[in-house]
């Protein structure tokens, strides 16, 4: 379990992480969501003690990470930035890290096989593609059989097959009772894997909730309607006090009126409908809705 309490980190006069308090529970996949530059990677570095918090604290299984006797047994981490000597082979990289914890050489080979690097394990890591580098990073994370697995943007650079593999791996790790904490700036990725979400923007906590509740909170009652009889339908919706936005392709996005009412009104006046679809916000849209204004660079700022 990871527990952050009022965690804060400044770099110079820029506040990267701002008073974050959250807990990451075992047995489920917790998504760590936020736009690029929102402080996800910094938070993970603070968990590992690579950076020192300006204020607040973060513990892993009850203690600061550095105070554990066998840290790699507590947390296995994949950071976004490359953390491998480019001149060393994947096998020797894993061996050297394993030796700090007295982990047997057989374990290294096991993990090389698990992540599918057996053909290239003797090659220098500097020659690896992005995807191979990610696989090596994941092998590194799993080296100590950790109770908590923390991965920063793990699907970056992976091919579709690799992405499927990561999703299954994350679910498998959670099913084994481990704490799984995985960051992404892609909502679609989170919707495939996460059970719970911690959402941040500009270093601040925006939401700490289940995926389902997150989507529900952001969903507005929108109904998509297509009709060949536009003016009649517009009048009908106006009588029901609904508002309509007409999309470029002629589809109506109706707000303030339910699908049932629109259907009845159309039937009563003989208006033909080609489509009548109640709309639930996707995780992507929910995220955009909830983090609006929290984005590091909104469009206005870019223009200005």
């Amino acid at each position: 379990m990871i527990a952050a309490h009022l965690l804060t980190k400044d770099y110079g006069d820029k506040r990267a992480v701002d008073g974050l308090t959250f807990e990451v529970q075992p047995g489920i996949v917790t998504g760590f969501l936020g736009p690029n530059g929102s402080g996800k990677s910094t938070t993970m570095r603070l968990v590992l003690g690579l950076d020192r918090p300006t204020a607040g604290e973060v513990t892993v299984n009850g203690k600061p990470y550095a105070e554990h006797d066998a840290p790699l047994r507590e947390v296995g981490a994949l950071l976004e930035a490359r953390s491998v000597h480019t001149g060393r082979s994947a096998r020797n990289h894993l061996r050297a890290l394993a030796q700090t914890h007295g982990i047997a050489r057989a374990r290294v080979q096991e993990l090389i096989d698990l992540v599918g690097l057996h053909d290239v394990a003797g090659k220098r890591a500097g020659k690896f593609s992005l995807g191979m580098g990610q696989r090596l990073g994941i092998a590194t994370a799993l080296l100590g059989d950790p109770a908590t697995v923390m991965l920063d943007e793990p699907v970056n650079g992976l091919d579709p097959e690799g992405i499927q593999w990561i999703r299954a791996l994350l679910r498998g790790l959670a099913a084994e009772g481990r704490t799984v904490f995985v960051s992404s700036h892609l909502m679609s990725e989170m919707s495939m894997t996460a059970d719970h979400l911690i959402v941040i923007g500009r270093g601040r906590l925006i939401a700490d909730t289940s995926v389902r509740a997150f989507v529900a909170a952001a969903s507005k009652d929108l109904v998509r309607v297509r009709t060949p009889d536009a003016s009649a339908l517009l009048e009908a919706i106006a009588r029901l006090d609904g508002s309509v936005r007409v999309e470029p392709d002629g589809t109506f996005e109706v707000a303030g009126v339910g699908a049932e009412e629109i259907g009845r009104a159309a039937a009563a006046q003989g208006i033909v409908l080609f489509e009548l679809t109640p709309h639930e916000a996707s995780l992507e849209e929910a995220f955009m809705e909830i983090t609006r204004g929290e984005l590091e660079y909104s469009h206005e700022e870019v223009v200005a």
Partner: protein, 270 residues
Amino acid sequence: MTAIPVLAAPARGVTQARVVRSEWTKFWTVRSTRWSLLVATVLTIGFPILASVIISSHWGSQSPHDRATFNPLDPALIGSQIAQLAIGVLGVLVVSGEYSTGMIRATLTAVPKRLPVLWAKAGVFGAVTFALMLPSVLIAFFASQSILSRHDASYSWHHAGVARAVIGAVLYLVVVAVLTVGIGAVFRSTAGGIATFAAIFFVLPPIMNVLPSSWNSAISPYLPSEAGRAVIQLTHDSGTLAPWTGFGLFALYAAIALAAGAVVLKVRDA
């Protein structure tokens, strides 16, 4: 296969000995190590043999004065003095290479207490330098002296001060190794570390020569490289420190560099 294989034997705690084993593996599994050590060895042995052959072949044309002032240890230890360049660069790289590649993040995630990593790096590199340079310098000494012996211009191992100077040349390189690991940890960048090493060892001493001579003679003996060289020199005058005094001061500089590196490693964000 989604579940990760369970560890047969669970990971054990991090100890200084395990960190040393890890650093030993890291040390030997990058190319820069083998190249630098090969260069250091070739220079240490090759230069003395080359120099002795040249001196020997021109012995007949030397003036009596030159013959009288000739110090047979000079060619014997010239190689080890040049080899300090390769040792020093490697010492910086042992640390700075981790920062330039990002490896440091993996290293400090495995050893979050941090300092054992620095002690292990200095210990491994110091020990390797000793183990490799001791035979190299001995070979250089005996090979060069046997070449020079035909002109009766060589020292035996038992000549006063010779054993101390030869072993001192090895110990000097060990201190260079530890000192440059410290410099690497302070600067964390290859360029900054190597520039500082070069400034201390190769720029500072000649600068002293343009200072007023009273300043020069007051400061020079206490410069790291000059203090360290005291143990390698056979004869000592008022301008040099006594052999082991100088070496002790040199070792103190290395300890200070390593301590400064330890503070930086412990305090700064990785």
